[in-house]
Amino acid sequence: MRFVDEYRDAGMARALAARIAGLCEPGRAYKFMEVCGGHTHTIYKHGLEDYLPEGISLVHGPGCPVCVIPMGRVDDAIAIAAQPGVIMATFGDMMRVPGGNGSFLDAMARGADVRMVYSPLDALKIARDNPDKRVVFLAIGFETTAPSTAMTIMRAASEGIANFSVFCNHVTIIPAIKAILDSPGLRLDGFIGPGHVSTVIGCRPYEFIPGEYGKPIVVAGFEPLDVLQAVHRNLLQLAEGRAEVENEYGRVVPWNGNPKALAVINEVMELRPHFEWRGLGFISDSALCLRERYAEFDAERIFQVPGARVADPKACQCGEVLKGVLKPWECKVFGTACTPETPIGTCMVSSEGACAAYYNFGRFSRDRVKEATRT
């Protein structure tokens, strides 16, 4: 077990794993969903799944912002980038995401000016420095990045930077969790709650999970011990017949979140009636757009976007992966036609994507994958 050898808290992890094993009812299969792609990363990096008792499986959730962007939105963004005088600024993770008509890298090859930025503030700086260009920031992410986009827009407004706008694709985590709980065919026993999203929204918004669905959720950090701890606490709740929201990551996540961050999101953005998620389809009230009062910074109002719905490629099974129905290596093109260099689906692009996490870590090398898929 690689993980045990490499991890500095191996002793504690071993003890925790033993306690986890002790809590499992013999013969019962447990499924816990880790909502956040950061957890998926930890789980594969450290081989945590192998380390848990056989009855427990960890199911990957939709918490990878790049992965859930549907093809049509990528095409819309590329259509904006292709307009004259436009500089499109976006996070590096988005560059390779395939749309219906190629990725940003392809658009750049056709002459589009696309810049990789670390922060929306970098995009604002580009706008300040290029007053004769129209600079569009492609905003993606859950509540972890939405406040930064909102602050940047407020800043653009106060400075009167008129050539800056945002193509807003921010999504909210709660409706996605609800959609998964309501989707047939997936029986979950509990959740490992996202760490950093919760620094913004806090723990209260998860109360419907025990309240309406009777399932536990434990908000957790990103270290192997955090994830094991979350599994342990989930099992403990099940064993004791409880269902509650627990915060294992209290050292970072305040119960009420970050009120200032929530206030700036609310100042600048409002819920869209519907938004399409890759794999999950249209979900009501699940994404953010700019409020009327910030209309002049809204790329969707400034530019003509095709707004077409584009079906995922036939071979792509990201939807199943994002819902936790399929494991990455069960997708037919995993590691063959679909690799991080030539991704077919989004889950192979971002380091937070489940397919990329599987692919990138040595223990799931191509050979191992072939072996796994053969059986």
Binding site: G92, L121, T144, S148, V197, N258
Partner: protein
């Protein structure tokens, strides 16, 4: 991008109270601290940074363990640090 990076505050810029200079794995950058309004920050404090904004204040032990974790994930963290280094966020 969903993973926060811990940074140690080196200086609060007096002319721009919404900005702070931080040290992230040896890279010094200005970041925006406007989302931590009401949270007193001083040099030596640690914050978790997401896309150029401090989202929460953390203690040093947490910062160290978060850094250990990030270093263990390799490429993705290196990319993030490289992007941070190139970031041009208003520097004071």
């Amino acid at each position: 991008m969903c993973l926060g990076i811990p940074g140690e505050i080196v200086e609060i810029l007096s002319d721009r109270p919404d900005l702070a200079k931080v040290d992230v794995s040896g890279v010094r950058r200005a970041i925006n601290i406007g989302l931590l309004e009401g949270e007193p920050l001083a040099p030596g404090d640690w914050v978790l940074i997401h896309v150029g904004f401090a989202l929460s204040k953390i203690d040093e032990a947490e910062a160290r363990s978060a850094l250990d974790f990030l270093e263990s994930i390799g490429q993705a963290y290196e990319d993030e640090i490289a992007a941070l280094r190139d970031s041009v966020i208003e520097q004071g």
